[in-house]
Symmetry: C2
Subunit: 215 residues, 2 copies
């Protein structure tokens, strides 16, 4: 099946399946039915089967899914059997938090460099890697086979830096800057807007506490 046919909604659910299957595998569970998986994940069994059918199904009728096989197959679909080297642009608290997160390494994402413009931060150690000056960025990306850039810098500099990364040949941007990036070429962008998530929580909180209101 050609991967291009699969919707981003389905893709967006794959990491969650991968996470639950990893937990099942770690607790020694070898097989699971779509019904049992459904109960754990609070989605319908029909949704699970539909999602998996996009990739040929994975299943053995009557016996449920083989947990380790399913975990490995979804991992491969997500590209987690490959290694990707990433750099972080912006060595503030969020940049340092992401650089320090060792679980990314377990998934094949190798923290390779971290950059900032602030002279007080340059040279500081983040999990064994020294913060470099932005002046070294372009050469570093080209010389070190970097696929992914993580943007944890203020919104004012983000668009300019993204365009610079594009011309350096980066393949994907994980963007935490508070601006949507629309790059014209083949660069993949995943925007993470933390404020948007907090506002959604705020909506549900206010709706919940005033659910008899009409507007």
């Amino acid at each position: 099946m050609d991967q291009k046919d699969i919707s981003q909604a389905v893709i967006g659910r794959l990491p969650r399946y991968f996470r639950y299957l990893g937990e099942l595998k770690d607790t020694g569970i070898e097989r699971i039915s779509s019904q049992e998986l459904s109960e754990r994940m609070k989605v319908t069994a029909s949704q699970i089967r539909q999602d998996f059918n996009n990739f040929g199904g994975f299943g053995q009728q009557g016996y449920g899914y083989n947990v380790e096989y399913l975990y490995n197959e979804i991992g491969k679909i997500l590209g987690l059997d490959k290694t990707h080297r990433f750099v972080i642009i912006g060595a503030g608290n969020l940049g340092q938090a992401l650089g320090g997160y060792i679980n990314f390494e377990r998934r094949g994402f190798i923290f390779s460099g971290i950059f900032d413009v602030n002279k007080d931060i340059i040279g500081k150690d983040v999990r064994g890697i020294k913060v470099r000056s932005m002046d070294e960025l372009d050469e570093f990306i080209k010389a070190n086979d970097i696929d992914i850039a993580v943007l944890t810098l203020p919104k004012t500099g983000a668009v300019e830096v993204a365009e610079r990364l594009a011309s350096d040949g980066i393949k994907a941007i994980w963007n935490f800057a508070h601006v949507d990036l629309h790059l014209t070429n083949d660069i993949q962008v995943e925007n993470v807007h933390l404020s948007d998530s907090l506002m959604k929580l705020s909506y549900n909180l206010n709706r919940n506490t005033s659910e008899n209101d009409v507007f």
Copy 2:
């Protein structure tokens, strides 16, 4: 219109409208058509009109939308005209990053306390607020009118802490721990799984660089 009728998909798009309208407002633009907004936001004008119709429409035909009015109305729907006090549980880099983010205050989210179990971190200053021991958590929440708890602690402690927060009367949890929280009562939960977002990027990156592959 009763807010209960509105889907989470629509709610999930409101913060992005709010963000774009804020930028328009800041640059002095007073009116905008759904077509112009559509071009900026890379969504269809029909989607915008459908989303806004959930809230009565907002629009003036022929003249487009009044930017400031629309910005304020969407802000109210999101509950941003109210004040919410939040605490952060887990004063690692991510917790400190979120505590330091002053834009939350502009939206009415007041950073009121930060807690950790680590004796080396307790007492440290995060934007004028001292990190407190987890022993003080329950009393602090009850005494300080705290609505929202932000969980930036490891997955192992998250479920237990969430249940503790529930019995303290917290109304909403913004969860960054790597586990889905399913609380039974009226507590709103917004799970932010950063690894899931990175895996989705990984999928698109691998699909993009091997788009002729069939599997």
